[in-house]
Assembly symmetry: C2
Homo-oligomer: 628 residues x 2
């Protein structure tokens, strides 16, 4: 029956021969690989504004911050285009770092990426649901439930093996890009014509910070806005999916994506500024901009629908990447081997389930608040950027390029830029003001304003813990290999073999077991533990009748325990000889109905369990199947 349910949910299993890559033209590859990066436009501006509001700084600072982030994006994209050319078979941060920097940095990049995939799912789904609840406020109370349903919906689609089908992705992605560009165009035009609604009065009246305080707040806002850069590396992972010439097409797609992302991000931030929009509970900034630009009409709902759709697609991208990366880590023996097994539908089902569970746990824990989840992001994103770019620099130097060669400079520039940002973000997380919050984090979670950046330290602690875990796992698999390898193994001496049949009375099952025992070994003994002496005479009589070839031993058990006499007897038989194998045969009958099991005593279970730990003892349950 469980098989039927699985078929219904997941579909029929696919044969291994069906595994192959779909080649995409640029125009379809863009939506497939860029949906994650582009979708961050939906929340990045809001994060900057939130950080400014929380720091009591003027919202107008958002413009220079957005420009700085766009510049960073240009550097990162240029840097990654080189990775694309260098790793045409796919060069994620893990592969580049592991290959060029070694197992430790590779593990760090792997851990950072895994965390970010989990966060991407949580943030994208939460933001997608926020777009829906902004349009339909009645749904707000069911936010968390909606998020979890969406996560498992996407997981289910991936368990069925959603191909990253270009067509499936194209419509929402281009709808999103088109409608947002249209909104920005209309907004800028109306701004130029002075027909936009005037900003609310209180926005203009806000006093501003100065000096160091302002710098701190702006750094924070910058760190939060860097959420816009998540997903940029996706194209470099999937070069193989492009049509030939793969690397060239991928690099061009990267440029297009960066341009679109930068334009939309700056445009939205500009509109938010001129409209005097401040972040508020219950409606996203993007939704406010759309309402101010278009009014609450058809265009507004198109914008919201496109936002929700692309965010769910972005989550879907993580559902493709997380299982693939964890399978890679598993194949390198840094994660449990099960993560590298292909499921019924040729997808890494274990990884998909793991991602779904972790990300919904995160959503529930943070009550579906995007603002609470985004601060967790940046550390991981920039850590993997920095490691990947550094890896590229090492690679160039190893390949004989000079320090001043174009390739080295570009990647070194990328590594420096992202490294500086990483340092800023990491330091910012631990500024004195936050030190207290750090300790009482779990208790302030529900209050938005108070814990905007709380939780980022979790990532800082989590990554080393994960790396430690990877290395422990790696060690185990290596030790396993050493212990199991037959290379250079002196094969042990031939085995001596004794079979012991445990009998308590003579029934058809016992007789069958005795016949079987006789079949598999010459040295064969029957053992009866005497628990109720009253039954012995009848037992002896039947024994005489049915079995004569196998010697019968009756063990005394003054304390009515079955296990102890048997274990003692085994000690005596094996006598410390490591080449003496004993097979213990337990005759069992299998009831026809499940509740019948309750009516039979499970005294053999304890014995079976204890025998698990004995060397050179194997247990065979000989089952006699009952008919009714």
């Amino acid at each position: 029956m469980s098989v039927a349910v699985r078929r219904l949910l997941i579909g029929r299993p696919l044969p291994t021969s069906r595994a192959r890559h779909e080649r995409l033209p640029k125009v379809l590859a863009l939506p497939v690989f860029a949906s994650d990066a582009l979708s961050s436009v939906a929340y990045a501006t809001e994060e900057i504004l939130l950080a400014l509001v929380a720091g009591a700084a003027a919202l107008s600072h958002s413009i220079p911050i957005a420009l700085a982030i766009a510049a960073l994006l240009a550097i990162v994209a240029t840097s990654y285009k080189q990775t694309i050319h260098a790793y045409p078979s796919g060069g994620g941060a893990y592969i580049v770092a592991r290959e060029n920097l070694g197992i430790w940095p590779g593990s760090v990049a792997g851990a950072a990426l895994l965390i970010d995939y989990v966060l991407t799912v949580a943030v994208s789904i939460a933001a997608g649901v926020a777009a829906i609840t902004s349009a339909f406020p009645v749904l707000t109370p069911y936010r968390v439930g909606l998020c979890v349903v969406c996560v498992f919906g996407v997981a289910l689609a991936n368990l069925r093996g959603v191909k990253e089908s270009g067509r499936l992705f194209a419509v929402p992605t281009y709808l999103f890009v088109g409608s947002f560009l249209w909104m920005i165009g209309v907004g800028v035009f109306r701004y130029a014509m002075h027909t936009l609604p005037p900003p609310p009065a209180q926005a203009a009246a806000a006093t501003d910070l100065t000096g160091l305080a302002l710098l701190f707040v702006m750094l924070r806002a910058f760190a939060s806005g860097c959420a816009a850069l998540t997903g940029v590396e996706a194209i470099s992972n999937g070069v193989q999916a492009f049509r030939a010439p793969e690397a060239d097409n991928a690099a061009k797609t990267m440029t297009a994506m960066a341009a679109l992302l930068g334009t939309m991000f700056i445009g939205l931030t500009f509109l938010a500024h001129v409209l005097g929009i401040a972040p508020r509970d219950g409606e996203t900034v993007a939704s406010q901009i759309a309402r101010a630009t278009f009014g609450t009409g058809a265009w507004y709902f198109i914008i919201q629908a496109a936002t929700a759709l692309i965010l769910i697609l972005a989550a879907n991208t993580s559902f493709a990447d997380f299982p693939r990366l964890s399978a890679l880590l598993a194949r390198d023996r840094l994660l449990p081997r099960q993560l590298s097994h292909l499921g019924d539908r040729l997808v890494f089902s274990n990884g998909i389930m793991m991602l779904a569970i972790l990300s919904s746990a995160l959503i529930v824990l943070f009550r579906g608040e995007t603002h609470l989840l985004i601060p967790l992001y940046a550390v991981g994103v920039f850590l993997s950027f920095t490691l990947s770019q550094t890896g590229m620099v090492v690679r160039w130097l190893r390949l004989g390029k000079r320090w001043c060669s174009r390739e080295t400079v570009v990647n070194a520039g990328g590594a420096c830029a992202t490294g500086v940002v990483l340092t800023v973000i990491a330091l910012e997380k631990f500024m004195p003001e936050d030190a207290v919050r750090l300790v009482r984090l779990p208790f302030t979670l529900p209050v938005i304003g108070d814990s905007i950046r709380a939780g980022a330290w979790m990532v800082v602690i989590l990554i080393p813990l994960m790396v430690l875990g990877f290395l422990r796992i790696h060690e185990h698999y290596q030790s396993l290999r050493r212990q199991l390898t037959v290379d250079g193994w002196a094969e042990p001496a031939p085995l001596k073999h004794t079979v012991i049949v445990l009998v308590s009375n003579i029934h058809r099952g016992t007789v069958q077991a005795l016949r079987y025992a006789h079949l598999i070994a010459a040295d064969c003994r029957a053992l009866c533990v005497d628990i109720n002496s009253e039954d012995l005479p009848l037992f002896y009589r039947r024994w005489e009748e049915w079995e004569t070839n196998i010697p019968l031993l009756v063990l005394d058990s003054p304390f009515r325990s079955i296990t102890e006499p048997v274990l003692q007897y085994l000690d005596a038989v094996q006598d410390g000889d490591r080449n003496h194998m004993v097979t213990v045969i337990l005759p069992e009958f299998v009831p026809a109905r499940w509740w019948h099991h309750l009516l039979h005593n499970q005294s053999a279970l304890l014995l079976k369990f204890l025998l698990l730990f004995r060397r050179n003892v194997t247990v065979t349950n000989l089952r006699y199947h009952l008919e009714e």
Copy 2:
């Protein structure tokens, strides 16, 4: 470690040879067997008064009701004295009914008794704790917790194998009888001297019911008061524990017990009446009587302590009887066989645990309120009385006694009296007024006054359900016997035997398994399911190196499932031949640490599970133990 904990709690196991019976003189047998019956004095009067209060009838009606119950007690005791003589080896209601009336009535008596033992524990412990909280009201909020602790305390003592040691029982029982008789004596003396405190004014002012309404309320009060008769049959169960002449001594003890019980019950009810005591929350009636008679001094605390002690002893009696009866039912194949197994300390441990769990569940469910539990009592008690007495009548007639012989008349009298009471009680439970309550019972539990009799219908429904269960179990054991017996069994033809070793790669564990397979059968094959074809060439090379004797079969698995190709291959090998036994050997390695298990895929588990259901297939896990 779990063994060490068990030793500490329960003690060392006792050898079977220590099982024997302790013979008791009458003066020690009385406390052992009568504590249950005598202890009901502590709550029976209160139950009558409660029923009268709930029916808005005058409390003075308690006197005729108590007299009627005492008369019933005399009839029942006389009737049971005959059972004692007829069944000197112990004649509980189950044995008498089953032997004389058949398996159905026997099962009904058994079910009723089991329910009553559970209720006795719950009621006695709850009443004992009520005696303690009456004396120390600060403990009242912890009532339920205290009850559960007491239940498991008594269970633990019984798991250790508390002998029904006369000395242990004598002190509290005689202290209880002595102090209560002293209280009644002092009370009656002070009543005669007119020095008792006057009854409160409002008691005298109560208006009274008349006609049918009064009759109904009085019948209810009578039914509730019949709780005084619980435990009367205990002596008839334990005749063998008396010194010779057993039956005579037991019969005399029965008379003494009935006399004491009757006197104390009537005395207490009389005192409650003349003191104008009404039941109230937080203090038992017995406690109120003791306070009024003695004041809150040393005597008061002695009375409360003796009450608490004897009530806990009464629970202890059930802990002796319930496991013994369930073992008897299990031996007659009406309950799971495990209930008839003697534990480490020569007691029926499973029965003890079951009783502890059921009775504490009841206490928790009913929040430790005696008043809510007692109505459940009467149906079971009188059902077993009636069946046992009817059984005796049948027995006399079968032995050739005439209808008008003394023996027949006495037992028939007993059967009629208890039968009439049973009918009254059962009808009373379903009076129209209760019909509505019957449906919404679970929701009114917390309100005392509203649900005094609620729940009794549960017993009425439970008994048939249990009897049905007994008979299903009985049927199963009989069918099992038929299917397993070797009597008249044509032994099957000699077995053909094939061994199949499942290998996925060559390591020390696999090599060991292949050697073992070679040892136990001539027809021996190695099976490899091809899941990842890339690994095959290496596998073949190693195979050549290490194994030449056993033929290797590689099965294609397009859907990457291990189970399906193996099951298909088994079908082909066995080809429907019922005498073809296949041993499937699964090489496994056993990690040295528990968390290592998480790192290995459990793909063989599903196969093992599916093979459980195949006839003539046995699975042997050949374990290779890792060192680190």
